[in-house]
């Protein structure tokens, strides 16, 4: 099609249009006759709960998945997208939520590797510098990726995408790994891109952000389009209602008196990173009282994994007295011993860490409870006890599943998370350490989980929540500390602090002053 006619059309014709796009995975219809139209220069939000079908849709638009039915139109003409290369050639670029960068290589090398038409490295570095300064995305081409912060890594991904000169840029949950300040920088970049007539398809579940940034929104629920609207004309609550299909409440804070005695105490704990470019812990100290919820905020990859491993006993501390639980020095004890002392733990990764994907729920109950729950007296597994426990978790936490005892991977993310959290809370622990309790979980399940955490604390347990979701921490914690580069700030009462203060700490403001 001659470019002149395209330009004439572009006033009314959408840049990209999906017509009745359908994709099935076995019995599940992930996308059911989706209609979507994105105009040039538009910031278009794609909203939906986890599992609503957002990822499937954009994967089809980027050529990573093939539709079973339906059509994609590019500037009004039918377009074939057999693979991402074809999508890029058309003018579609995508920035993924999870980065695909080689740690040991420089920024320029990473970008050069991804180009469809190979270019000499000096030329790439030159173009990269030009693009990054033009869009306010400062980067040093020669720097190795492992030295970069998460926000900088995202910039590499964005610049890499922009170097293909895309007309439509798809961003998948771009701010989930950024501090509030870094997110502001990103919004500035997006404004500049739109001013040039490029369209942005913005996947997010952060409603305030979408209302600020986007002038059109398509809302998915259960694989179908439930609404197309102008988010600026809606409230966050009305958008949430459309996403969930029901009213969403906030967790009820309990009226609590003073917190009890110190239950968990960490003294000057340092831990080396367990992989070459990883982050360890430096001189971390904290006190956690019975009946209290302490939040650890921080951008991903700042030592949260090491902190969880040290507190749970997956990694031993250098000395026993670095970690005191109920007056006992437990730093050298393993996770089973700490469970016997009343510890309960929920790691960040559901599949592969908290639960084994191909194992049944009963086996996943055995996984975390064999040391404390009498599931296997004398080493012989009692299946009836396991099934009874699974039934109790299912009832108490509304875990929705088909058969009584399915494989863990057959559950949706939210239901598996309810099971994994319920599995620990039902044991009535004295200490709960939970990492990203509602990561990628739909609003309804998140509500159940947050309420259960608050109820546990009200019952006298000590709870430590490690999360990147600042809103969640502000909602359920009594005190908040921030982890940055393996160092933990002092905890401040949640009511006394603001998002901005925490955001600055998440970006390393305190350590910058200290050094």
């Amino acid at each position: 099609m001659p470019s002149g006619s395209a330009r004439i059309l572009s006033a009314e014709t959408p840049l990209l249009e999906a017509r009745r796009l359908t994709r099935r995975f076995g019995a599940l219809v992930a996308n059911d006759a989706i209609d979507l139209a994105v105009r040039a220069g538009e910031a278009h939000a794609l909203l939906g709960e986890n599992g609503a079908g957002k990822s499937t849709l954009v994967k089809m638009l980027y050529g990573l998945l093939q539709p079973d039915a339906g059509q994609v139109l590019w500037r009004g003409a039918p377009a074939a997208l057999p693979d991402p290369r074809a999508a890029r050639a058309l003018g579609v670029g995508m920035v993924f939520q999870h980065f695909s960068l080689f740690d040991a290589m420089s920024v320029a090398e990473n970008v050069a590797l991804a180009l469809d038409v190979p270019e000499p490295l000096p030329r790439v570095a030159e173009r990269l510098a030009a693009v990054s300064s033009a869009y306010g995305l400062p980067l040093e081409p020669a720097r190795e990726v492992w030295r970069l912060s998460v926000g900088e890594r995202q910039r590499v991904e964005i610049v890499r995408c922009l170097m293909q000169d895309p007309r439509l840029i798809i961003l998948d949950e771009p701010t989930s790994v950024l501090t509030p300040q870094e997110a502001e920088g990103l919004f500035g970049t997006l404004d500049r891109l739109r001013a040039e007539g490029r369209a942005v398809l913005y996947i997010s579940h952060k409603l305030e952000e979408v209302r600020r940034l986007c002038e059109a929104a398509t809302i998915l629920r259960g694989g179908k389009v439930v609404a197309a609207c102008d988010p600026r004309a809606e409230s966050a609550a009305s958008l949430a209602r459309m996403m969930v299909g029901a009213e969403v409440g906030a967790a009820r804070r309990a009226d609590r008196g003073d917190a009890g005695p110190v239950r968990l105490s960490v003294h000057a704990l340092s831990l080396p990173p367990d992989e070459p470019h990883g982050i360890g812990l430096h001189d971390v100290s904290l006190d956690l009282r019975a009946g209290e919820v302490l939040g650890i905020a921080g951008v991903a990859g700042n030592g949260q994994d090491a902190l969880f491993a040290a507190l749970s006993g997956e990694r031993a501390a250098p000395a026993a007295d670095r970690i005191i639980l109920d007056g006992a020095a437990v730093g050298r004890e393993d996770i089973s011993a700490r469970r016997r002392r009343g510890g309960a733990f929920v790691p960040e990764e559901r599949l592969g860490h908290a639960a084994a994907p191909a194992f049944r729920l009963s086996e996943n109950a055995l996984l975390a409870g064999h040391a404390t729950e009498g599931f296997a007296p004398g080493g012989l597994v009692r299946r009836s006890r396991l099934l009874g426990f699974v039934d109790r978790v299912t009832a108490a936490f509304d875990v929705r599943k088909g058969p009584r005892d399915p494989e863990a991977r057959a559950l949706s993310g939210g239901n598996l998370q309810k099971f994994v959290v319920g599995r620990e809370i039902l044991r009535g622990p004295r200490l709960l350490v939970v990492c990203q309790p509602t990561w990628g979980v739909d609003a309804g399940a998140a509500q159940v989980i947050r309420q259960a955490i608050l109820d546990l604390a009200r019952g006298g347990a000590a709870v430590l929540v490690i999360s990147q979701d600042l809103d969640e921490l502000l909602e359920i914690t009594d005190r908040i500390a921030v982890i940055f580069h393996g160092r933990l700030s002092a905890a401040t009462p949640t009511g006394w602090t603001t998002r901005e203060e925490i955001g600055l700490l998440m970006g390393g403001a305190a350590t910058a002053e200290a050094t």
Binding site: L28, E314, P347, H353, A356, L366, A371, G379, V381, A410
Partner: protein, 357 residues
């Protein structure tokens, strides 16, 4: 148009059962083609391979004798592979087990022997196999060396050690310079189940071990621990299980069973050490373990099947002049098809039509 593999959401039990049967069928078809290419009548060859060994008492006894070491070794390997520990060196552990037990028989030959000797030989065989298997375990857990390479290379060490012993220090002085030890005395020989038969006490002992192993795998915390370490190592760490300890345990266990199989073969069937005392039991057992779905009872069924191919191979060699290597080729084909069919368990094939341009 192109073919792609797509991951299945869940694998049904019917498919799990069907997959090894499909593999066997495909291997049989390929074997028929191979036999035809070698100039033999494929139907006659298949008959010699798979029907004749099962058609008289002698053949059935031979199958039991050959199946015993295969089953015993493969049960140990099944635990290794469930734990994600790739012990390829069962052949070596088999030989060292044979050496360990035979050493007692040779050292006491013509001297103080008694009813204690046979149990001691079996224990020494199991211990020898276990210790030999702990070498790759140590290299793996201490230095991160690939157990696939180290365990395989140790097979050659064991073979050469056996060769040297039977040609040197342990050679039968009255054996006309043949590379073999003395024939073991009755006190050092596993008793036969029936007079004049071929099956010895090792076969029922193996059945007992299969039953015990099936119980451990299916019902105990230890069996769960082994499976979890193999399936989801990070979740196993979260469960409080130590992957290194599991590596040691499964290597020791599979080495002990391979060693036990070795000494039972020597003390029961051969009654002396000689080079080439194993027709590759330790390697064939790898096929048995996978064909048996890494399940002890499955290993029993698969072990009998592969034992039939050993006997059938001898039949075909005599009757149709087919080379003995044809048996090895068939076993290799079988492993190939088993692994290929397992892929279909986890994935489904999908034909993609490219969208109209």
């Amino acid at each position: 148009m192109r073919l792609v593999l797509e991951q299945r959401a869940e694998t049904g039990w019917a498919l799990r059962l069907l997959s090894p049967l499909l593999a066997v069928a495909l291997a049989l078809v390929s074997a028929a083609v191979m036999f035809a290419a070698l100039g033999a009548d494929p139907l006659a060859a298949l008959h010699a391979y798979f029907v004749l060994p099962l058609s008289d008492s002698w053949g059935l006894q031979e199958v039991a004798v050959k199946a015993t070491p295969l089953v015993l070794i493969s049960v140990g390997l099944a635990f290794c592979y469930r734990a994600g520990v790739w012990n390829i060196g069962a052949e070596g552990q088999f030989l060292v087990g044979a050496l360990g037990g035979a050493w007692l028989a040779v050292a006491t030959h013509g001297g103080a022997q008694g009813p204690w000797l046979l149990p001691a030989m079996l224990a020494a065989g199991a211990l020898g196999g276990a210790l030999f298997a702990l070498i790759p375990a140590l290299l793996r857990t201490r230095f991160g060396a690939s157990e696939i390479l180290t365990s395989l290379m140790l097979v050659y060490v064991a073979e050469l050690l056996l060769d040297w012993l039977v040609r040197g220090p342990w050679r039968d002085p009255a054996g006309f310079n043949m590379p073999q030890t003395v024939t073991f005395s009755p006190a050092a020989t596993l008793p036969l189940l029936a007079e004049g038969g071929r099956v010895n006490l090792g076969t029922p002992l193996t059945l007992l071990i299969v039953a015990a192993a099936a119980l451990v795998a299916a019902r105990t915390l230890k069996g769960f621990e082994i499976r979890l370490v193999g399936e989801a190592p990070r979740a196993a760490r979260f469960a409080g299980f130590d992957a290194k300890r599991v590596t040691w345990a499964v290597f020791a266990f599979s080495g002990a069973l391979a060693g036990l199989a070795g000494i039972m073969e020597v003390a029961g069937t051969l009654r002396q050490l000689q080079p080439g005392l194993s027709p590759g039991y330790g390697f064939t057992a790898i096929i048995v373990a996978f064909l048996g779905r890494l399940n002890p009872v499955g290993c029993l069924v698969a072990g009998v099947f592969l034992a039939v191919t050993f006997i059938g191979g001898e039949n075909a060699q005599i009757m149709l002049r087919l080379p003995l290597d044809a048996t090895r080729v068939f076993q290799g084909l079988l492993l190939f098809y088993v692994l290929a069919c397992d892929t279909l368990l986890l994935y489904r094939l999908r034909l993609l039509r490219s969208a109209p341009a």
